[in-house]
Subunit: 355 residues, 2 copies
């Protein structure tokens, strides 16, 4: 398939104040749009002006949530190059997520190369202040105008771009996390280890309740016993206990985070032991009592590494490292963002320059 | 709020061959469309020409599946009246589903009355052949053009209508059901007892695998122990064991079917004992071995009552009533559809004439 280009007549004004970018509200001039139907397969791919979709009110995605997405970023280096971080892993995960809910396969290499073209085209939209980046949202939806419950034949796969501000406007500040014991995000056999839209809808209520109580995010427990740690709202989670990093193993209900995988590799490379295993809140609570719980942090595309200052579990307040960011957390954050922004040599082969 | 009307210039041609209606592919001339935003609340409601929606590619519903829906029907009686079946219960459930995923509340009475107006307007679209009806699909979606994970402020609530054929074109025929032991539909604490889009996306893969093996639908087991019966793809399920009807109790992961509730009330009225309780596949298998499993059927809006002829559980084939429809199943089907089509007096107050 050939990637076409449709020019827009008038370009938008780019934001001038990078301190006011926020997250995900401003979109660039162009988007990548690919289309598929039942007869022709993938029949159209183009970079076209960012604009509204025309969807039937019966479109499958609006009824049965046949939708998956990814989140990734493009970074501008101090010398003006454009870097992306493991984008092939995101595109691969998009394909795996799609497969779980019976969406048509797509050519991952074609999508990745088309994405590079889009980024090149929109490189002037990448902000340059510390911590800012261009957020990239590949989205894949089933759109047949048919209200029967079945996999779609017609699809749109598109990518939109949004310049985003620094996640921590005033430096990394530890978050307070509410451990959710009533609502469940996912269970083995479900869709929890994929980026399907429904997982996020299901998470909203617990998130709102945590916000009302003044906490930043929710920590989900397993759906079977409500005992074992799974993941935080939009991040995987790591505990540093007696010098070792522990993170829940991927057992079918946790998102296989690309930042998570990078942290594991990076920590091991730094000589920090890492174990992926089942870990209960009881164990974490006991480690906090005997002083062996040293640090807690989340990992994800948005914040990269996010220190956790406090966990609230039932009536227990678990204060981590006196509510301050730990040394290992800081080191992992600095190294990973250093690689992403091209300040530190990338010996892992994670970054790619888009040029 | 006032319900407005926007006329379309040219009406569509109505289908002439009612044997070819199928399900959910043909839509009528008009739809009900209500809009809400963060400042004004619900600010617009109108009956307008059926047509495409304009949605931002960033619209929340396309990423985080903030979407709920309902399925209901309008029936034409032999003497030309239009009946609906417990529509207030569907609208109430739409509101409950919406609440579970943090969607804004709406005026249920206003929606119900507006729906009646739409049905009146489109009554000539209701087919009249035996078993046909007008399928009604209320849909509620969050549409903010913002890719942060949070509840929407902007919403569309709309209702589309589709004339549908008889579910069983050649008489009620028992279905073969595959008992799913690997994939899980829902777990307590999740969204399984609500009509959120994500539940349906999560169900597609198991459904496809069952179809490939030649079975009609999937029977879901509980997400914790994979032992207890929950519901069928698009139906609740009933077992007749030693003269008693048994159906899984509503314990947080099963959809509270309106047909289910009606069957329970109807059966009790007929003098058939009904128990809502936990029931395992082991118990059903044993009942089939000792001959006490008399009948199995599903209940839902689409098929009303659907006889089950065979359950396939691991390597066991459980043949129900020699693969034929049972007497109680037939009686419940005849009575319930009789009430819905106005052939049998409705002593329960379930039907409403739209006039």
């Amino acid at each position: 398939m050939e990637l076409k280009f449709v020019k827009r007549d008038v370009l938008k004004e780019k934001p001038t104040d990078e301190t006011k970018l926020g997250f995900g509200r401003i979109f660039t001039d162009y988007m990548l749009m690919m289309k598929r139907d039942g007869e022709r397969g993938w029949y159209s791919a183009q970079i076209e002006p960012y604009g509204d979709l025309q969807l039937s009110p019966a479109a499958l995605v609006l009824h049965y949530a046949q939708e998956v997405f990814e989140g990734m970023k493009a970074y501008k280096t101090d010398d003006g190059r454009v870097l992306m971080f493991r984008p092939w892993d995101n595109i691969k995960r998009l394909a795996t997520s799609a497969e779980r809910i019976c969406m048509a396969p797509f050519d991952q290499e074609f999508v990745l190369n088309s994405l590079y073209e889009l980024i090149k085209m929109e490189k002037d939209w990448i902000p340059t202040s510390p911590g800012t980046s261009l957020y990239i949202r590949p989205t894949y939806i089933g759109v047949d105008p048919f209200v029967g419950v079945q996999p779609a034949k017609e699809y749109l796969l598109y990518v939109i771009l949004s310049p985003v501000g620094a996640y921590y406007a005033s430096g990394l500040s530890p978050v307070q996390i509410y451990v959710e014991s009533k609502y469940v995000r996912a269970v083995k056999g479900g869709t929890g280890h994929h980026k399907t839209g429904g997982n996020y809808a299901a998470s909203l209520l617990a998130g709102e309740k945590a916000h009302e109580k003044g906490y930043d995010q929710v920590l989900w427990l397993d759906g079977k016993e409500n005992k074992y740690v799974e993941e935080v709202g939009s991040m995987n989670i790591f505990f540093k206990i007696k010098g070792e990093l522990v993170t829940p193993m991927l057992a079918g209900s946790i998102l296989p985070g690309i930042t998570r995988a990078s942290i594991i590799e990076l920590a091991k490379d730094m000589g920090i032991p890492v174990t992926e295993r089942r870990i209960s809140m009881e164990e974490i609570y006991e480690a906090s009592l005997d002083g062996s719980l040293e640090e807690v942090f989340g990992s994800g595309t948005a914040a990269v590494v996010s220190p956790v200052g406090e966990l609230i579990w039932e009536d227990k307040h678990i204060i981590v490292n006196g509510g301050k960011m730990g040394e290992t957390t800081q080191k992992l954050y600095d190294t990973l963002t250093g690689i992403q922004y091209g300040r530190i040599p990338d010996k892992f082969g994670w970054t790619v320059e888009v040029k």
